[in-house]
Symmetry: C3
Subunit: 653 residues, 3 copies
């Protein structure tokens, strides 16, 4: 394994290898990577292109690629890709039979033992994008695994107060474990041949597939975790001007999943969609720049574009590439080169760079997504019901992420299990639970402890409406009443959007208006004798509770400043811990911050469509270098000026 | 059985009983019913919560509820609910096998014999909402029943003039009989144990399921018939401001189905939708008041809200309730209490109250709905084709109901079989057939007799386009030509809406414009030499025929006054029979009238969003008491003033 | 067979024969045909109405029809219609088993041998509308045929440069051959009984089904080819004001498919849709006139309306007819009579009339439609992506047809195989390939030869993006680089519409913007250093290449004049070959021209909704007779005036 530390963040691209290509072509792609400062690539190791009909193996096509990688010192992430039926573009996600499993094992043995000998082999991607879209496959093999899994399950102690359990999330729970089992099975087979290389897997369409994965369970057998982030396929909850923000959120989700491990953007859209892509488009050079710096600002170990050269035949042929059809770099490739140059010239900074620690964690809860998926109607009741459609749970969480990012405030985006519940003091820390409709019983005490130990808990929407068995927690003695300082009194479904006033701030809300039966809290909002928000001291900490959809309300109305003002009011203690933020929320502009020793690097991206002059709360830092835009004079200590689509990168000390 | 007569209309709510509830909770719900003047409840008798895995029966959970009902003198409608697979929220509609039928019989025997002993047991609801959505189940059992049914069918005498029959409505006809058979089967099993209690069934989503039921065939084994009317699930053909009107129409349909039996609103939405409900919302207190008085004005024996307490677990958990999560009455419950108080203080009036007899009957025809369902396209051709989508038939009928109600004119809404065809004189009576596309041969003579004997028949849209076998009646010698005074000459499909002039009144019409080949009628409308409407004397009566969609035209354009003017012109004789009506049509305001001896009670509800001052044609009645709004001074003999959302209830003498 | 030549174009209608009709009715329909100048009819020969349950055959019902046809000298196209399951309205398209095939043979034998003896029998329609909608049936019989077919296929020489073939169009290729085989099988069975009559087949919904047919392979066993053209079912890609243009395009497609054979509009919507028709409507008399003259202008041998009398029972009962329910001619029938009179009074002209030869051929390519069907997403990404939805390929071709027709410029619309590639000189000829995304290898040399020999090739959109195996031609050494004068450099997907400038003309484009790597061409458009269009001389000819969707751009924006101006600039040599055209493009007005000896007849139809005064480029022709509108004074040599919805027919010499 190469010494990675000194070169990261790595930038690279997928080289798509398929029969029909000439050795010259293959060589040229690795040369082009090198010429543009790209030091890493990914190659899909098609079994179809190595195994011959007579059962023998011919690695020569891929050998050419690895030799070229050796020649140009490009690290190779090799994606294991056993033979698929019907030439599936994405590959299968689970074995179909014991026999299939044996075939996969043979493929792994042959492939790994052969290619591990190349100097350029950096690591193995266990599988391409292990998400199924939410359900388990309908095969006999999976059925058997499911039955075996069910036999091993122990009845949980918590039984929803003896209410008869009417819904069942076993398929979802099994999928979590099944994913983990199969990835681990692959890893073990890889490790039989190669004990040293990196082991990686990349997760796609994260906002929709997020509840399928148990990332912490993967950490023991991975060396890094990655994201597949193609806006045209994966960011359908957002519009194009939000893709940068969505990528930042995607990075936070994967960073949190990775824990102490490094994380990557293992696939990032590099080129044009023609027929493929759900909302196809061709990224601009500016977007490529924005996305790269967004990943860097989130602390990636590396970013790999999909893809350098287009696949030549079949679905997606001629699409997605960084090169044009003459093998020339496009303006997108040029944009990449400018970034790799800046990385190289800031090698010292990056050698120690990490994203600043944020005291604010927005948590999402797997069971909330499961519950939403189970109870949702057909999503055909129109935009007035967006909040209860599939996506309402995760969009609520991301709306808080977006509003904070538009204040220059970094926040974590974590599955609730990934949060560190074992600290002794949470003073200055904040957790936000935005419309996490199901809060399982095992988190009730940790949440209370968090607040007791000084934490600030902000609760929004229908958070904690259900437990993990879809018991209506408010119907059966609300278990969080002491923590929240009250109980839900009623929810009023109001299709569309409406205004409400919290802490004297009038703000838009969506669909659900919750009324609180207050016990010990201080009312923050009252409407016709109904309390709509409270603040409750509990131990050393505090809970702020607004049981209405104010995140989605802000998002849908494009009127985010009221909620922003409210959050800044509540988060004063947290904001103080950050080097600096914007003086006020900036629609469509986000900031990320890296720290390296005593130096900082801020990355500000303007998707607002307008030139923006932004004041900073900066007390003590001075701009040391303006990396981007080149020759800029638009940065002072307390103020920056940023054009539309511009990415402004400044190193401070 | 309690002496019902003196207390009706009963008001009550479903008490949802499930394991996990404490005796104190259960007791509290019956106490709350009592405190709010509610004297009746409904309980779903889950077999799952009574039958133990070892085959023994434990009724203790439900015993608690019945004891509490005894204690607070609450009448209980017990809904039979045999075990379902997958905890179906709605329950199954037909047995799946002979074995299943035996299991159901055992359940009925055990349940009825046990609970009939409670004083509070008022009656049995044979099944929850027996509608399948139009088709017969795909089970082996049903298949056998269907085959047996087919063998018993006698070939009808009428054979559509020897045309080869190409379409077949056997599944629809069988479903009618199958519903009746199974309900009767349940009733017989109940009666083996309990010969005295009330026997009831409630029909839901009536505007869509209406063609599945043969209500007259049910009357011999029922003691009352009921409606499930949850606007968020069931009134999808209408918008929220029409829900009150739709509920009035729903009541008329059930009232007609019940015949001489009393009818109920057995389920009425009482609370909030969160994830459930197709067009979810939380009713306002004003809506609760409107709906209650609408039911009362239609002559219900009782109204039961769904539900007092929310179910606690699974789908719909925490939704639909009249109580908040602290078990406190919401403003909706308070609205109910005000109504129960008014009923109590008008006990004398209500002891003899009946809806006034209306001389106008809007008839719908089962075969018209079947034909529409068979020929309709995929409903994906846009709003310009609404009239031919599924729903066009029943929406046409309801549009006439609405326009009359907005004149304060009561009308009946009946399946054509439910009309009394055996009178000797129909002078002063009117039948409206609005876009009843299929008129079976067995009604041709009764319709002619009705007119011959003095009746007024108003025919609209494509009424009588087909016979019961989808023979185009106009293609093969129109059998109603003497009655109508002509035949259809052509239909012109004109997507969207257009204007036409009838009796000098320009009015909007939709989609279909019919031209008449006039024989003996007097033209009412002419367009480019084509006659678009005629009036034909026949015997002692008259037919008014407009073969275009003027009902839907009025409805879609929100321009109802022209059609209203036309109808008032034609219905002068009928209007004279009513105590009084509005002097002119009032958009969004409907009136219903009860009579009790020589006294009348009018219920006027304003959904127009505006304050309205309405003149009445009242000749002789004087306001005796203004029940609602309290302390109102807005009523005089010839004039009332009504605020938006207001329900105005006046007793006259 | 009657001497047809002297009477054509024939006009007629389907007479719908079914049990229940009286001999008088049947006689009346043939009389009415005769009275209105209609000399041909079509009759569907239902096996169900001839074969008795005991296996005997009773032809009496249809005998009545043929006798009446004999009596009134009406030629009969008899449509073979073997028994269908479930009384399918359209009939089956392929046999379901060997046994079924034998039954069909018996039906053909009985039917043909019996009815061929009638003098009125003109010919046999082998099947009603042989399109399946794109896929092969799921029957065992078809499966066997498919397997047998696959065994016979020879591996093609061209192998996409050794790239592994990932997609497979075998089902599409088989369907082509399977259609041909089955039609030929029927024909052979017919010919066993009747060696003389006309053999015909009619193809429906052509814009969607077009890639299923191999018309040239049908020519040997047909005597004419026909179109089913019901706008309400078949012209869903267009709006009502475009139906005339769409019918003209449909005629060109069928005319090209027919080759030297005559072609018909075998079914043309004659009457009202009630429940049937995807976008139902009732044609106006003006539309009937427009459609008839459009067909005549395209050079039809005959036009048969669907239908004279409505079917009486079942689906579509009472719909589609030219007669009203009293058997009287409607204004649509009167419109037909006026046309038949004009044909009769111009018998001499029509005896030699042919559509003028156009030097411009718009070619569509079957493989392009197949590729689009394979790669397209679910079409749920909204109107901004219309160009890549199914239909993008054919709509692009038709957009050029429409723009030319609005200039009065006739163009051919041909499958690429139907073009005559064997001429020695293409000087003055033009081929347009509009967004034909797949150009199979077998056309590369013919296309180059066409240009080398003097032809003008206009290439638009993503034409030649793929080969026949979906190899991205630009990724693997563009084979048409010398012809086109360059290669595609990049495509930029830009959802929605945008402007681009070509030859100094700013024009709207849609979705895809292509950049060219220019080698030998002259740039026609440049944008930010990217070449967007070039012109390349090659041999004696020239290629004009704009790799963006300018056809759909013009169509979607309703701003067609810029593209029109550009085309007129490029097509000067072609335009000179036409007698005359409009001086400028006329939105919504199209012209067709017939030639008969030295005389011409122009048919101009105004669907623009406005009166139009149009200048002509006419140099030498003088108006000899204004056939339509009668008594018009609105025509001079260089100028015509035309009212909205008017059809203007002029004979020139």
């Amino acid at each position: 394994m190469l010494n990675a530390q000194n070169e990261q963040p790595y930038i690279g691209a997928q080289v798509f290898i398929e029969p029909g290509q000439s050795p010259e072509q293959i060589d040229s792609w690795f040369r082009i990577l090198d010429e543009n400062g790209m030091t890493v690539c990914r190659i899909r190791m098609f079994e179809e292109y190595m195994k011959k009909p007579d059962g023998s193996w011919d690695f020569s096509l891929f050998d050419q690629a690895f030799k070229a990688a050796d020649k140009y010192h490009i690290k190779v992430f090799a994606t294991l890709f056993p033979a698929t039926v019907n030439n599936s573009v994405g590959g299968f996600k689970f074995p179909e039979s014991e026999e299939h499993l044996r075939q996969i094992a043979t493929y792994i043995e042959k492939t790994v033992s052969h290619f591990k000998t190349f100097q350029s082999l950096y690591g193995w991607v266990l599988m391409n994008e292990p998400g199924t879209g939410g359900d388990i496959p309908q095969t006999e093999f999976t059925k058997q695994q499911f039955e075996a899994w069910k036999k091993k399950q122990v009845k949980p102690e918590y039984n929803s107060k003896n209410y008869t359990l009417l819904v069942n999330f076993d398929r979802k729970k099994f999928l979590l474990d099944y994913n983990t089992w199969y990835l681990n099975w692959i890893e073990k087979d890889v490790r039989k041949q190669d004990t040293e290389s990196v082991i990686h897997v990349n997760n796609h369409q994260i906002f929709e597939n997020i509840a399928e994965y148990d990332f912490p369970a993967w950490r023991p057998f991975l060396t890094s975790l990655g994201a597949s982030a193609h806006p045209s396929w994966h960011f359908g909850y957002f519009d194009r001007s939000q893709y940068t923000m969505a990528l930042a959120a995607n990075c936070e989700i994967i960073r949190s999943g990775a824990g102490e491990l490094p994380f990557w953007i293992t696939e990032l859209q590099g080129g044009n969609n023609t027929y493929s892509g759900k909302k196809g488009f061709c990224p601009t050079a500016e977007e490529i720049t924005q996305w790269l710096w967004t990943g860097i600002g989130a602390g990636v170990q590396g970013i790999i574009f999909w893809c350098l050269n287009p696949r030549a035949i079949g679905e997606e042929a001629g699409e997605w590439a960084l090169l044009d059809f003459q093998n020339n770099p496009t303006d997108r490739t040029q944009a990449i080169r400018k970034v790799t140059e800046k990385i190289a010239s800031n090698r010292q900074f990056f050698s120690q760079a990490k994203p600043i620690e944020s005291p604010i964690s927005i948590l999402y809860i797997r069971e909330s997504l499961w519950a939403e998926g189970l109870v949702q109607q057909k999503d055909d009741d129109g935009s007035n019901y967006e909040g209860r459609h599939i996506g309402g749970v995760i969009k609520s969480a991301v709306s808080f992420f977006e509003i904070l990012a538009e204040n220059g405030i970094k926040s974590n985006l974590k599955e609730i299990d990934e949060f560190d519940w074992k600290q002794n003091d949470y003073t200055g820390k904040c957790i936000i639970l935005a419309n996490q409709v199901s809060v399982p019983s095992r988190y009730w005490k940790p949440l209370a402890d968090f607040v007791q130990k000084g934490g600030l808990l902000i609760v929004e929407g229908l958070t904690a409406f259900y437990d993990e068995n879809m018991l209506s927690l408010n119907s059966a003695g609300f278990p969080l009443r002491e923590l929240f300082g009250g109980e839900l009194s009623e929810v009023q479904c109001t299709p569309g959007d409406f205004d409400m006033t919290v802490s004297g701030i009038k703000m838009p809300a969506h669909l659900w208006k919750g009324y609180i039966h207050n016990l010990t809290g201080t009312p923050l909002g009252v409407e016709n004798d109904h309390i709509t928000a409270i603040e409750n001291n509990c131990g050393k900490g505090k809970v702020v509770w607004i049981p209405s959809l104010i995140g989605l309300g802000a998002e849908r109305s494009k009127d985010k400043s009221p909620l922003s003002d409210f959050l800044r009011q509540k988060l004063q203690e947290q904001i103080r811990q950050l080097p600096f933020i914007f003086k006020s929320q900036q629609d469509g502009v986000i900031m990320q911050t890296l720290q390296s020793g005593k130096k900082y690097m801020t990355i500000i991206i303007n998707k607002s469509g307008q030139t923006r002059n932004i004041e900073l709360t900066n007390q003590s830092l001075k701009p040391e270098e303006i990396l981007l835009p080149e020759n800029s004079v638009n940065v002072s200590e307390k103020n920056i000026n940023i054009l539309p689509e511009e990415t402004l990168v400044v190193r401070w000390e």
